[in-house]
Amino acid sequence: MTTHDVVVVGAGPAGMAAASTAARHGCTVCLVDDNGSCGGQIWRNYDGSVKAGHPRSFTDLSQSLQSGRVDFRTRTSVVAQPVPNILRVETAGAFEDIGYRKLILATGARERFLPFPGWTLPGVMGAGGLQAMVKAGLPIRGKRVLLAGTGPLLLAVAASLAKRGAQVLGIFEQAALATLAGFCMQLLQHPGKIREGVAYRTMTMAVPFRTSSWVVRAEGENSLQSVNVSINGSIRNFDCDFLGCAFHLVPNLELPRLLSCAIQNGFVCVNRLQETSTKDICCVGELTGVGGLEKALCEGEIAGLVCAGRPASHLYRKRNRYLRFAKQLEETFALRPQLAKLAEPETFVCRCEDVSRRTLEGLHSWREAKLHTRCGMGPCQGRICGAAAEFIFGWDSEQVRPPVLPARVSTLAGAVELDPR
């Protein structure tokens, strides 16, 4: 077993920045990710190469990862921590233990899904998921697409799909116009964000953008055929091929939970050095608050410096500005309570075990739901319905037990070989 000065889990922008910074300051670094290449969700499919059109921050970071100081393991999943300071990972059908002196978690976020009638139909996807699918080869030219939910992701996805020839029929934002106007005023402190927003809206000028609007029902036989949308109180029906839903992102808390990091209001608590309540463990990026690319890069750099024993105080001001932006995002695009009522009694809340809302009504906790109904006990292990149940019923997910992902028996049973050093 090898022990590294710093192990970073997650090779999105935050993890790449952390790994690259720590390596630049002399640490031996191991970076692990369960995807096939670096970049995370936001820089998906850039395959680590330097090409025209890739953002500068991405090419700079991926070059520094190739400098030889970072041991980058792709398709490698962390499944457990058998003893403190040792992670057990699974890769290519085998397991391995990786030791760390400092650990930086940068596991990012996933989309939150909310159940509504018809949400299980093929063709209904997360907005980010639909974009990822298109980047992964799904032809979208000429397809009729509806985007509904909340937040800047709707605009970004609309722009990206429209550019590839999709017929985007509408963008439906649940937030009220007045709230959005207030947000735009606050954006004056973040000129970069304004430029980004204007660019997206310019690309989607022909697409209707409606506020105080949300999806109420999706219909179709064995796949999506049409969607009902509530627009300022009246229902309209749209025939379409795809519906992309965006109800915010939720951080991937499985690993921080497993490692007993304190969590508050759905995010990992960190001090200004990005340190968590657990010794030797830092958290960066969306795990500490959904704030996007710049916040992730900045926090990653801070954690990289801290783990290398270097000062990082020159970055605090910048980071705090991004944290304020994250707060503004959260307040502006807070989900309205009506959305918790979209699921009807027969609507499945848990898609893995097909558990309907009716079955869950009257229960008191996530644990009770799991024990009595198998909600959250299927293959996704509550990763989808957990965030939905949290919003609908107010249930908090509980402590995570190993393995974090389905793992082989040999991985679970293998003895830990301690580093002789």
């Binding site: 093929p122 080869g137 990763r383």
Partner: protein
């Protein structure tokens, strides 16, 4: 030997889904190829047709049998010539 120039044929992968020939561009994920072909990845425990929801390896809705291996997250796997995919 001079380097070969990729042709149209090289850029398309031919494979089977439930025994039926299907093709997709190389570099496409199996989940995207299934969706393009209008084939659900699997059926839910109560028999509903299901396809990828998250496309990032979390929801497990895109799982299918690939080359004999069950429960493969097809959004994480690229199509390859000769691949045998079975959906249930």
């Amino acid at each position: 030997m001079p380097p070969s120039i990729p042709t149209q044929a090289d850029s398309i992968a031919h494979f089977t889904v439930n025994g039926t020939p299907v093709s997709a561009e190389r570099g496409t994920t199996v989940a995207a190829a299934l969706m393009q072909a209008g084939i659900a990845s699997h059926k839910s425990v109560s028999g509903q047709h299901r396809s990828a929801l998250c496309a990032m390896g979390i929801c497990m809705e895109c799982c299918a049998t690939v080359n004999g291996v069950q429960h493969v997250r097809t959004c994480q796997v690229l199509v390859e010539p000769g691949m045998e995919i079975v959906t249930r």
